[in-house]
């Protein structure tokens, strides 16, 4: 393959560049719209540069935009999502780590079957559990609360986190564990002293995957939370689809970026693990 620029290579780079523009265009449009004034939006067009840059829409989106009857901006909902995502991610990842350890290193009769049964949880459409879950949360008295959402996200995240850790631990040579057992190390000692120290990367993958899933979730949020306990995705959807008053596109876009920032940030700083998580979650062993 030629390394210098032939006409073919120029076409190739042009195609790649064009595709890059296609992917970046919505991000550019969101950003530029969010710093325009409403007059600028109406007078100019979508891809025109802003005539002047104002952060009014951002401050309105953060602290005073109306989602339905409430007019406190995205602020409260952003923190709802943080309070929901952080514990759910940590709990489901820790349980998944121990589960994955068992099904890979401590197989017992029937453990493979049990693991397969567990995996089914990755594939079901969640619509099929919404009705009983709503009823259960109601009876436990945690309907419409962040704790209720945490419970739901932990429960339905376990299948994925177990899968991640299982697929990682099976790549570790059995001899390592066998030798430790001969030396008298027990179940927890092996896990804490031998496996945890080498599990950094898979923890990253799992935490990032879970965080992205839970932060971006809409279905559980819209069904199991209402009013003040809504996560940010639900609030954003309410903001954008509220039909009262003048439509403030700049505020909508600022709110959308606010909702996207945490996962985008994670992607920027740890993209490597993000990609690995996606492919690991996809290509199952």
């Amino acid at each position: 393959m030629a390394k210098h620029l032939t006409p073919g290579r120029i076409v190739l780079y042009a195609a790649l560049l064009l595709m890059a523009i296609y992917y970046l265009l919505p991000l550019y449009v969101m950003l530029s719209t969010s710093v325009k004034t409403l007059d600028d939006i109406r007078g100019g067009n979508l891809i025109a540069l802003p005539q002047s840059i104002t952060l009014d829409a951002w401050s309105k989106a953060w602290s005073s935009a109306c989602t339905g009857v409430e007019c406190g901006g995205m602020k409260g909902f952003f923190w709802n999502s943080v309070k929901m995502a952080v514990p759910s991610v940590l709990i489901s990842t820790l349980i998944g780590a121990v589960n994955g350890y068992v099904v890979s290193m401590w197989r017992f009769r029937g453990s493979d079957v049990l693991f397969t049964l567990l995996l089914v949880g990755c594939f079901i459409p969640f619509q099929v559990v919404l009705l009983p879950m709503a009823r259960l949360l109601g009876e436990l008295g945690i309907a419409n609360t962040t704790s209720g959402l945490i419970l739901v996200h932990v429960i339905y995240g376990l299948a994925f986190t177990t899968l991640f850790f299982r697929n990682f631990f099976v790549t570790i040579p059995d001899e390592l564990v066998k030798a430790a057992r001969i030396d008298g190390a027990g179940f927890w000692t092996i896990f804490l002293r031998i496996l945890l120290p080498i599990s950094g990367p898979i923890f990253m993958v799992c935490v990032i995957w879970q965080f992205t899933q839970i932060w971006n979730d809409f279905l559980f949020g819209v069904v199991f939370a209402s009013g003040e306990s809504q996560p940010i995705t639900v609030a954003l959807n309410n903001l954008v689809n509220t039909s009262t008053g003048v439509k403030e596109y700049n505020v909508d876009m600022a709110a959308a970026i606010i909702a996207a920032l945490p996962t985008l940030f994670v992607y920027m700083v740890a993209g490597r693990y993000f990609v690995r998580g996606l492919t690991a979650g996809a290509v199952k062993g």
């Binding site: 393959m1 190739l12 790649l16 595709m19 890059a20 992917y23 970046l24 919505p26 991000l27 969101m30 719209t33 939006i41 109406r42 067009n45 979508l46 589960n99 099904v103 401590w106 049990l114 567990l118 089914v120 459409p125 969640f126 619509q127 099929v128 559990v129 919404l130 009705l131 009983p132 879950m133 376990l158 008298g184 027990g186 179940f187 927890w188 971006n216 979730d217 809409f218 279905l219 819209v222 069904v223 995705t233 954003l236 959807n237 954008v240 689809n241 596109y249 876009m253 959308a256 909702a259 996207a260 996962t263 985008l264 992607y267 990609v275 996606l278 492919t279 996809a282 290509v283 199952k284």
Partner: protein, 300 residues
């Protein structure tokens, strides 16, 4: 005297039981919250439940009602249109990008980052962005108008016959980078010597890709199909954010149908029946694909 020995046997005993003990809460959770809840929903779909669940068996009345509901068939037809186009286009764009990126490109890392970032976004954010871009008055239409084509119109978002296609546009944008990453990983796993041998035989690059490389990516195709059909059948957020199922019910999909009947219209039985239909669709699509995937993986 016997203390160390009994301690050893105690820890051996612990090692026998601990793994099962540790795994059991998760299994119990899965049993109740996955299998139990599916059974609960299944049973609910066989009752006459409306606003409140009631547990008397009523046969298939809800399924009958579902199959006589025009809105359900709109949703099913939309899922067909959306699923087919979304899977087809995402696959094509993803594969195309992967092949392009595989040509020893400078700045490959940067390009990959750009192609893949939409996957980090929520479908609600994607929907919001595209809803604005496809706005019939102020969106892309106006850009083209301003460029000197004043008669150009692009109002699919508010056109009942076209609204579902806007969901395809946004869905492909969000997911194609991910498919690119999967194919690229597959391409990188192919032995270079096969390609070199074909080149020696005088085969051109497109022919090598079409005849040798792409067919050898069979297992990746199965994974990609598996994931994309899964995304398509479950698609809910993107449609909610982009069209809300509208105009009217023109871009309804089964997930929206289920949500509205179960949670805003108080038709629990019908909602449960539609949820069970979604589950059966997933099973019907995924099981054959997974079967083929494991078979081709074993052969490959």
């Amino acid at each position: 005297m016997s203390t160390p020995q009994s301690q050893a046997s105690l820890s051996a005993l612990a090692d026998r039981w601990l793994p099962k003990l540790v795994l059991s809460p998760t299994l119990l959770i899965s049993l109740v919250f996955v299998y139990g809840f599916i059974a609960w929903t299944g049973w609910l779909s066989l009752t006459e439940s409306r606003l409140l669940p009631q547990m008397d068996f009523a046969g298939l009345v809800q399924y009958q009602a579902l199959f006589e509901n025009d809105r359900w068939w709109t949703a099913v037809a939309n899922l067909g249109i959306f699923g087919g186009l979304f899977i087809g286009c995402t696959l094509a764009v993803g594969l195309f990008l992967a092949v392009l990126l595989d040509q020893k490109i400078r700045a490959e890392g940067t390009l990959r980052t750009i192609y893949l970032y939409p996957m980090a976004l929520s479908f609600i954010v994607t929907g919001t962005a595209w809803k604005w871009m496809l706005n019939p008055d102020m969106g892309l239409q106006k850009v083209i108008n301003d460029w000197g084509f004043p008669d150009f119109t692009f109002d699919w978002l508010v056109d009942p016959d076209k609204a579902i296609y806007t969901v395809v546009i946004a869905g492909v944008w969000q997911s194609s980078g991910f498919v690119m990453a999967l194919f690229l990983a597959g391409l990188r796993g192919i032995d270079d010597s096969i390609i070199k041998a074909a080149q020696v035989d005088g085969a051109s690059l497109p022919v090598i890709y079409w005849r040798i490389i792409i067919p050898s990516l069979r297992p990746v195709f199965f994974s990609v199909l598996l994931i994309l059909s899964h995304i398509a059948i479950k698609s809910f957020d993107l449609v909610m954010a982009l069209t809300g199922g509208g105009p009217g019910t023109a871009s309804d999909v089964p997930a929206i149908f289920m949500y509205q009947f179960a949670f805003t219209r108080g038709q629990l039985g019908l909602g449960a029946a539609s949820a069970m239909m979604m589950l059966m669709t997933i099973v019907a699509v995924l099981v054959p694909l997974m079967y083929m995937e494991t078979r081709s993986a074993k052969r490959g």
